[in-house]
């Protein structure tokens, strides 16, 4: 067994999976074929269902100082993750637990350790090609940076377009460019492999009817994303490619490349991103006319339906149900128009200034080769095939998959799977946890509590980059004259190894204990500089970086006076900060290596096992006498698999696992403490237990089936829910040979005013039970009355099958629901047939209600643990996309129906994800705080608790005996909200004290 993992694909799924593994003690190689990380996600600015950005929230919460704490667009750093750009896997030998992976590493053409991202090479490069990052809306050079924010990654050469003219080589001030680099191979020993290579967007060019590339104003959704992006080619302005004018009307055409004969699957994310794009466009210009042309509006995720309603109501986005056959262009105006048959059978004629094609997700064509190398099977569409009821397992032991590599999905589901895959790997390699991560030994940090501040200022000239803007002699003189400065020096490239060695020498020689590096953006070399500080026994808090390059780059080179002035101010700020800075050391606290899982349904059982199988003890509390929760009532799954066998297997494994302590008929009645150190009191039917100490808590308390009171449910034996039908089919109680017709009504108790969310599983249930009925008796007439059929992903194929088998899907509107009456023995269902507008009257033998999922009463638990609930009564996660199973209150995790409605496989993935997040705490010896963190001056604290209310992490509480507030160091993230609200100055942020801030401001006013 090898405690290292190869993650293939450095998009958001790969990054998340790597971080989760790295955080729980494994060495990770994160490989990507491209020179840069970030995948598709880096091209997007804001996300549904809240129009926000939240990427930075996936960064580690604990021991945060060891990983990069920057916007993820700027780069990623974690000591346990080695990034391997330009790498493809060419061969895999060995078996699960002991793979040897051979990687071919394409030459970057630029030696990363020498590249200072000065951009001079790109400026002289004569070759221009369309930028992939900006989707061809802009050009880039043959030597390039994918995204200007990502300067830490260094430049790369695109060999496809490079003419090897050598202009860049000549220009490069650090001799970083090497056009003769050759492909290398590298062999890695890894215990497991995770495939997270994502998807490719469908290329609509072959769909000539839409005129993509022929009609300039027909663009793809991802091109539109780039236009919406503030850092995109239009700086966030929406402009028609034909005339660079803002459009007045935009159409979004759904299912481009999805839900066709050739690709009979749904790409799952396009409805939502089209909604988002329309909303963002409307936010920019409320006058804009936006219309989405769709077949089914698949807003099935958590909070998505509300977002849809908001788009419709608040933003006035229009929706029209029809598929557009062809787009024509007015040759004069370049406007686009089309005609289609609408839902009501009438003609839909429209003209638009801009048409956005919502392109679907397709598997990367290189999966074919990769599949062979990895020895994994692909499905018929070319996605990686996963095992029944195990969403991240491939056909090859030890090779896992997550994200869109296995099926099209959105970010939230991708991240859940990423954590789930990390969980599966951790289970496999748990014996090797911590074996391969290397920690550098630094000398002990000097005790400077009594020492006077002695500052050194190192000025980097960045070759000519900075030196050409500044009079370095004058800068040196200026720096020398500043208070507390004992040493000043300039260096051509501070980032180069020799230079740093010299710096270290000077620090020691002059007994320097405060350091200012005036160089470039902190993301680029912060880690290097911090490392240098620690090498000489100085805590990194005594280092301050000045971003000379980026802050001066923006000044016109002719305005040297201004540049000097600004440079001096920047140095003054940094010096004042560092001079007034106390040395900050890390503190840590112990961790209980046991978890509490609340709820013994599918989610709880899976989570408990996922932790126990990694070697952690688990206390599992179930309220009822029986394990299995809602799973007990499910007898088949649309995509296959036996839920009852799954249930029995899980229960058996839980009962037999010596690390799991099972408590049935037990409730949690009290919880205190915090991440790493919770104390929970359980109570069963007989008694209240002694408090147990746990490091993490997983909430898997489930949800319930909606109890219908509509559609004559209580008035006739012939009206039943899908679950009841399923049970009767399974038990054989229902005689299907006698049935003439069956009507199913969807969205019963979902997607209405009272419960404005989609229950996600009911459409699959209806399709599944329809197919099951048809299989047993093909003669039955089945009518599914629906609002939108949510057969996302590969469920689409079953939807097609059902239709082929004659199941009739009839759409109805929320304000024109079907009517059900009983006349004598006869059931009568009436609904409006949308194409004719007439009333369709059916007298079915059975009426099946597709009832949704409702939350349990979660209030008590939420209050006990200080957690928030959504408006719908489900638990509210920390961040809908980037921390989907975490809470803002750290150490508590969430999965299953307590989170939101979801299917069996999705629940399994989510439970594994929650377990992995918990494992990232349980696997640590100690939880380390960050250097910047808050404190309380007890003498000054009046105990008003304003800071307690301001702290988003529950890191503060009042010690009622002392009457003062106390900080839990490990939970504090150092945001300083407490400081800003504390009137007396009792709350203090280490690294940003009031006095420091005042001092710094004094230095610049």
């Amino acid at each position: 067994m090898v405690g290292a993992v190869l993650v293939i694909g450095a998009g958001i799924g790969g990054i998340k999976c790597s971080l989760d593994l790295a955080e729980s003690g494994f060495k990770v190689y994160l490989a990507d074929q491209s020179p840069f990380i970030g995948g598709t996600l880096a091209q997007l600015d804001r996300w549904f269902p809240d129009n926000h950005c939240g990427m930075c929230k996936i960064l580690p919460i604990f021991s945060r100082d060891e990983s990069s704490q920057f916007c993820l667009r700027r780069g990623l750093y974690h000591p346990n993750i080695e990034l391997l750009p330009l790498s493809t896997v060419s061969q895999i030998d060995g078996n699960t637990g002991n793979f040897q992976a051979t990687l071919s590493i394409k030459p970057r053409g630029v030696r990363k350790e020498l590249c200072v991202s000065c951009d001079l090479c790109a400026q002289v490069c004569p070759v221009e090609v369309p930028s992939e990052f900006n989707e061809g809306l802009e050009n880039r050079k043959a030597i390039y940076l994918r995204n200007p924010l990502a300067i830490s990654s260094g430049y790369a050469i695109d060999w496809g377009s490079c003419t090897k003219c050598g202009a860049c080589v000549e220009k490069c001030p650090t001799d970083a460019i090497d056009l003769s680099q050759e492909e290398e191979t590298r062999k890695l020993d890894v215990g497991a492999i995770v495939l997270s290579a994502g998807f490719e967007e469908f290329n609509p060019r072959p769909w000539s009817q839409y005129g993509y590339k022929r009609h300039p104003n027909v663009i793809t959704s991802i091109q539109f994303e780039r236009m919406l992006s503030a850092s995109g080619p239009t700086a966030g302005e929406i402009l028609r490619p034909s005339d660079n004018q803002p459009p007045k009307s935009i159409a979004f055409l759904q299912c481009v490349g999805s839900r066709t004969k050739e690709r009979d699957y749904c790409s799952s994310a396009c409805c939502m991103y089209a909604l988002k794009e329309a909303v963002l466009a409307k936010e920019k210009n409320p006058e804009l006319d936006t219309e989405i042309f769709y077949m089914d509006l698949r807003a099935f995720g958590k909070g998505y339906y509300r977002y849809y309603e908001q788009a419709k109501g608040e933003f006035g986005v229009k929706f029209t149900r029809c598929r557009i056959p062809t787009i024509k262009q007015d040759p004069a105006t370049k406007n686009l128009f089309f005609t289609a048959i609408g839902e009501d059978g009438g003609l839909v004629r429209r003209e638009f200034d801009l048409v956005v094609l919502s392109v679907g997700q397709t598997p990367s064509p290189r999966f074919l080769e990769l599949g062979e190398v990895l020895g994994i099977e692909l499905n018929k569409w070319g996605f990686c095939k996963t095992q029944e009821l195990s969403p991240t397992e491939t056909s090859q032991d030890g090779v896992f998959v997550c994200g869109s590599a296995s099926a099209p999905k959105d970010i939230a589901d991708t991240l859940v799977e990423a954590s789930a895959a990390a969980c599966q790997v951790s289970k496999l390699l748990s014996s090797q946890r911590g074996q391969l991560i290397t920690t550098k030994d630094y000398p002990e940090e000097l005790d400077l509590s009594e020492a006077e501040a002695r500052a050194a200022i190192f000025l980097c000239t960045c070759g000519e980059e900075i030196a050409s803007m500044l009079d370095m002699e004058e800068m040196l003189d200026f720096a020398k004259g500043l208070p507390g400065v004992v040493y000043v020096e300039q260096t051509p490239y501070l980032c180069q190894k020799d230079a740093l060695e010299q710096v270290k020498g000077k620090i020691k020689e002059h007994e320097v204990n405060r350091v200012v590096f005036a160089a470039c953006s902190d993301i680029t070399y912060e880690k290097l500089f911090i490392d240098a500080m620690r090498d000489v026994g100085l805590t990194p808090s005594l280092l301050e970086l000045v971003n000379f390059r980026e802050q001066l780059c923006s000044i016109n080179p002719d305005h040297k006076k201004q540049a000097m002035e600004k440079a001096k101010i920047l140095v003054a700020i940094a010096l004042e900060r560092v001079r007034t800075q106390e040395p900050l050391h890390l503190v840590s606290q112990n961790v209980e290596h046991q978890a509490l899982v609340i709820g013994g349904g599918l989610a709880g059982l899976t989570a408990a096992l996922s932790l126990a199988e990694q070697g952690f003890e688990v206390q599992l509390a179930e309220r009822t006498a029986e394990l299995g929760g809602n799973l007990r009532h499910i007898f088949s799954i649309l995509e296959g698999g036996d839920p009852q066998a799954l249930r029995q297997n899980l229960i058996k494994r839980v009962e037999e696992n010596p690390l799991i302590r099972l408590h049935t008929e037990t409730e949690v009645i009290e919880v205190s403490g915090y991440a790493g150190n919770f104390e929970a009191v359980l109570k069963d039917t007989d008694s209240t237990h002694e408090p147990i100490k746990v490091g993490a808590i997983i909430i898997a308390t489930g949800g319930e089936a909606y109890e219908p009171n509509e559609y004559c449910y209580d008035q006739s034996e012939s009206v039943m829910t899908q679950a009841e039908l399923e049970q009767q089919l399974a038990s054989g109680k229902l005689d299907v040979t006698e049935l003439g017709s069956v009507v199913m009504i969807q969205c019963v108790g979902s997607r209405d005013k009272e419960r404005p969310y989609c229950s996600r599983v009911c459409c699959s249930q209806a399709i599944k039970n329809s197919l099951s009925l048809k299989e047993r008796n093909p003669e039955i007439d089945i009518f599914v009355l629906h609002r939108d059929v949510m057969s996302y992903g590969f469920k689409e194929e079953y939807y097609s099958q059902a239709r082929e088998k004659g199941v009739l899907f009839v759409n109805y509107d929320l304000d024109r629901k079907p009517e059900v009456t009983i006349e004598g023995e006869r059931l009568i269902v009436q609904t409006i047939e949308p194409t004719t507008g007439g009333v369709l009257k059916i007298e079915p033998d059975l009426l099946i209600l597709s009832t949704g999922i409702v939350p349990n009463d979660n209030n008590i638990l939420a209050q006990m643990l200080n957690l928030e609930l959504t408006e719908d009564g489900f638990f509210k996660e920390a961040e809908v996309k980037f921390r989907p199973v975490d809470f803002v209150i750290n150490g508590i995790f969430l999965c299953g129906l307590a989170h939101s409605p979801r299917g069996i496989t999705e629940t399994i993935a989510q439970a594994q994800a929650a377990a992995q997040r918990a494992a990232s705490i349980l696997s640590r010896e100690r939880l380390e705080s960050g250097r910047v963190g808050s404190e309380v001056n007890e003498r000054r604290c009046s105990g008003c608790e304003l800071c307690v209310s301001a702290c988003p992490y529950n890191a503060r509480f009042k010690d009622t005996d002392k009457g003062v507030v106390v900080v839990i160091e490990a939970l504090c993230q150092g945001c300083g909200a407490c400081v800003a609200i504390c009137p007396s100055g009792a709350a203090k942020l280490r690294g940003f004290t009031d006095k420091q801030v005042f001092s710094v401001m004094d230095a610049v006013i």
Partner: protein
Amino acid sequence: MTRSAILEVQNGNLIETLNNLWRQLLEKGLVDALLIPQELPSGINVVQTLVSDVQKLESPNPLSPVMPVNTARIVSQMTKVTPSPKKVGVVLRSCELRALIELVKLKQASLENIVLIGIDCFGTYSVKDYKNLAQDGSSPKDAFIKAVREGKEDPSLRQVCQMCEYPIPMNADITIGLIGIDFEKSILIQASSTEGEAILEALELTDSPEAEVTKRDEAIAKLIEQRTKKRDEILEQTQKDISGIDNLMRTLAPCINCHNCRDVCPLCFCKECFFDSPTFEMESEKYLGWSERKGTIRMPTHTLLFHLTRMSHMVTSCVGCGMCYEACPNEVPVANIFRLVGLNTQKIFDYVPGRSLEDELPVTTYQERELLGVPEKL
């Protein structure tokens, strides 16, 4: 739910009737102690007393028109460390009660075992004016009550009282209702909590006719209208007097940095003020640096910063009791300034200090969509 009862005034003596009420509270064990203003033997001031022996209830007079301290501070002092173990009746004016509610939200006081007895307030004189009136030999309280009965405006009342639009207490268990009532004959006792109702019950008071309540409500509405009008007049003048750096500096010219305004403010609850903290213990080079920046600086430093910062800390909770002005040795119109800023600022959040324990303090909460004008639009 409010229950209103009638308390007959014996022999037209309001004070004596109320004294009887206070005595009963103690004698019947409805409270174990009473925090109530009593006249000092000299007659030239009225101070808060904590009475546990009914015999020592010598000269209670919460109606006397003087307020040497905002009693919220005293309740905070008594209940901050531990809640009261015994039942204490606390007699408060509206501004005191409002400040107390704010302090409870700020965890500086506890209402456990506290019976809040609010009294309708017609306003108060400054301690100095009261003292002078008393020394003149006239009885300020009798004259005051007479003036109130005759409905006369009293220009010598403290200005903050003249413009106080909260003459009736909010959130009291029991309210002693005087406004709009002919208190030679009877007064209205209103209970607004189960605690209060139990007291009404124990005192065996009869329900008030609806008409009395209506009469009072109408009188209150009228009084509030008058005072609001007055408020707007006064604050308009204040705005003129202080607005702009020129005027503001002139207004603050007499400030001697004594920080008395802070020391008496019921909402300046900090154990130790930020401005007395080590943050403001500066090295001499700092002072010299500031001096060099402008050529000269006022010493001691940070006069304006102190006032503005104090304002940013407590102005959303400022109840306008005016204690700050009373404490200012040099008559800087701090009370009017804080009232003016308070009004403008509280309005933004639709926040009325002391209105309800349920209303969250404006700076401890937020809504996702609000204050859309605050960030600069580009």
